[in-house]
């Protein structure tokens, strides 16, 4: 029973990693209705920027916000420079651009900072959280930041004019134009925000998995899985989905014997496919009814 509890808590703390990333995935999905394969690499690159700023002697209280802001403008610029010129190209060409961005960021990070792991200090300090052996301070901090980010996102979309405009632009671009919303700007803004959220996620994840150019490779996949499981249109669902994926993966690895340990990723993925087949809109997603 103690093992079970430990694995669940540990699942929650790895789940927090996925949840962070899933939040960024949902953000970009809202803006462009795509899964951005380069999202993880963008987050990794942002984390390197934060790390570099700290290595140059900036305190983390300055370095982290600065990295997040730089990431925001970076995301905004990517939309403007890379995607705007090809906005009418077929979907698959966009996917190829995602792959290209993935490759560029991964390789560039390795070129600049090389491929050995770097430790990133946790802003929340180290050691157990409130004397618990189950949860570290960083894990607790990470879960808290994820939830705060979720709340902030919710408030942004619910109570601000720009948030409302972004929702409108995503829901119905044509009508959005008809009320005077600059839809293209909203899309770029979505990129910027997704990139900024990704940066926060990266900075939170790096102390757990260590910073290196490939650190997001599998985390992004789990992030996708969490987002899809929870429903791509629902930030809360995505966060819950992320936690669920973490827990499922841990329990499968612990209780399904050798096969479970060898295949825990596959089992988690298979489960997600099953959910999708049963409920294509995700556990918490809204079903969109279409009339023919």
């Amino acid at each position: 029973m103690e093992l079970f509890l430990q694995q669940v808590v540990s699942g929650i703390s790895t789940g927090a990693i996925y949840a962070c990333m899933a939040l960024a995935v949902v953000m970009i999905y809202q803006a462009i209705h795509h899964l951005n394969f380069a999202q993880g690499e963008m987050a990794m690159f942002s984390t390197y920027i934060a790390w570099q700023l700290m290595a140059w002697g900036l305190p983390w209280g300055l370095a982290l916000p600065l990295a997040v802001i730089l990431s925001f403008f970076g995301g905004f610029a990517i939309e403007r420079i890379v995607f705007k010129p090809i906005q009418n190209a077929p979907v698959l060409s966009h996917i190829v651009i995602f792959i290209a961005l993935f490759s560029i960021f991964n390789s560039l990070a390795g070129f600049i900072w090389d491929f050995t792991i770097k430790s990133v200090a946790s802003p929340f300090g180290e050691g157990p959280f409130m004397g618990s052996t189950l949860l570290g301070k960083h894990q607790a901090g990470m879960i808290a930041v994820t939830l705060v980010m979720l709340a902030m996102l919710w408030a942004f979309f619910q109570f601000t004019r720009v948030g409302l405009a972004m929702r409108a632009a995503a829901a119905n671009p044509e009508s959005a134009r008809l009320v005077g919303i600059r839809v293209e700007t909203m899309t770029a803004l979505g990129w910027g925000m997704a990139s900024a959220i990704g940066a926060v996620a990266g900075i939170l994840i790096a102390p757990v998995v260590f910073l290196e150019p490939n650190m997001m490779l599998s985390i992004l996949l789990y992030g996708f899985a969490g987002a899809v499981l929870g429903g791509l249109t629902n930030p809360l669902g995505a966060v819950v989905g992320g936690f669920l994926v973490g827990i499922i993966e841990n329990l499968a690895g612990t209780y399904l014997g050798d096969v479970g340990a060898e295949l825990k990723l596959s089992i988690a993925l298979a489960l997600i496919i099953v959910v999708l087949v049963m409920k294509p809109e995700g556990l918490f997603g809204r079903k969109i009814v279409q009339r023919v």
């Binding site: 009418n88 698959l92 390795g110 997600i272």
Partner: protein, 375 residues
């Protein structure tokens, strides 16, 4: 403005359509397309005559990749279903071949069709859950398949057949592919011709399929599923068939890959390879099967294009006289190799800028412009 102004824009004189019987479809032997096809075929056949072992080997690889691109294109380009998981079917083909040859003692040439059939089975079965998924969700499900493939291949329980993480080394005793029929031929050249033959057969059959009733039904589903249903086309049947056929072709490519490389291991079939096939297909042109050779070339050369960048830069440096500023020895090449991912990515972005619909779209645009200019 109170008076009523009548303005009539109607054209006088009605033209009812005249009944002119249309010709049956014209099948000219010497059409532009056929000439190009023959030229390419001649070029391919002559490769071993004017080039050495390594280039022949590379071209063999290219043909294998081209078959894989063709397979994916049958699913995505013809039927409109996404897949980021074709490395899985490729792996199934490769392992089927390797296991049958090494453990079953089956003739390697025979394993090629068997690998195709096995892959067809997997593809057809995978299609059933996939039928419920569309677009993005299907892409994600297939991506999951690609990610899980190396893990499944390493699985302890099937290690006695798959060789686990060690994989399977093929042609243990002879080392090289045995050349049949007592032919006095270099095994590399023989493998090339075998691959070319399989490629040609697969290509011809795929073209025939696309131009047949089945192919039309698949394309109809891609263009407009609702209208397709109204034409009496069963969506589940044709979507599953497309998945199966696509897996079959990709599985054949996998089997050939095993024969060419003579080694299969889980690390050969990661999701990176699935993405590589996808990139190859987009570069060749989605829905344009002829583009598979261009896709194969892209898969072969693009990932390592950085290797020649130092030559390019040195050439420019010589031209503009800044050679002294460059690092000496192979330091420059080293830097470019470290940047290979950046170079690959930038080239992809530039390519999509120039040809948003791949080489196929570009070629069609050029051909139609030339036609317009000449007519």
């Amino acid at each position: 403005m109170t008076d009523i102004a009548h303005t009539d824009h109607r054209n006088p004189g009605l033209t009812a359509p005249a009944y002119r019987p249309a010709d049956a479809p014209r099948r000219r032997l010497l059409s532009g397309g056929n000439i190009v096809t023959l030229l390419v075929l001649a070029l391919l056949i002559s490769i071993p005559i004017y080039s050495k072992g390594f280039f022949v080997f590379q071209m063999t690889q290219m043909l294998v990749y081209a078959i894989a691109v063709l397979g994916l294109n049958l699913l995505t380009g013809i039927n409109g279903q996404f897949s980021l998981g074709h490395s899985a079917f490729y792996a199934i083909g490769a392992y089927t071949c390797a296991i049958l040859v090494e453990l079953g003692g089956v003739n390697y040439m025979l394993t090629i069709p068997i690998a195709g059939i096995v892959a067809f089975g997997f593809g057809f079965l995978f299609a059933f859950p996939a039928l419920r998924l569309e677009g993005l969700y299907l892409a994600l499900a297939t991506f999951a398949l690609a990610v899980a493939t190396p893990q499944l291949l390493k699985l302890h329980a099937i290690e006695q057949w798959t060789g686990g993480v060690q994989g399977i080394v093929m042609f243990q005793d002879t080392f090289d592919v045995p050349v049949p029929f007592g032919l006095d031929m270099d095994p590399g050249v023989w493998t090339f011709y075998l691959t070319l033959f399989v490629f040609a057969v697969v290509y011809v059959l795929a073209m025939a399929l696309v131009k047949s009733r089945t192919g039309r039904a698949m394309m109809a589903i891609r263009d407009n599923p609702i209208a397709a249903r109204s034409m009496g086309i069963s969506l589940p049947y044709y979507k599953a068939t497309a998945f199966g056929v696509s897996a079959l072709v990709t599985g054949i490519a996998g089997a050939l890959n095993a024969i060419v490389i003579k080694f299969v291991a889980p690390d050969s079939f990661t999701f990176f390879f699935a993405i590589l096939i996808l990139v190859g297909m987009v570069i060749g042109g989605v829905g344009w099967l002829q583009g598979c050779l261009i896709g194969g070339l892209a898969m072969l050369y693009l990932p390592n294009i950085a290797e020649i960048f130092d030559n390019v830069v040195l050439w420019f440096a010589g031209l503009f006289g800044f050679a002294d500023l460059l690092p000496s020895g192979n330091a420059l090449q080293q830097q470019f190799i470290r940047l290979s991912g950046v170079i690959y990515g930038v080239i992809l972005v530039l390519f999509i800028y120039v040809a948003p619909s791949g080489a196929g779209g570009l070629i069609r645009a050029i051909v139609s412009r030339v036609k317009r200019l000449t007519s």
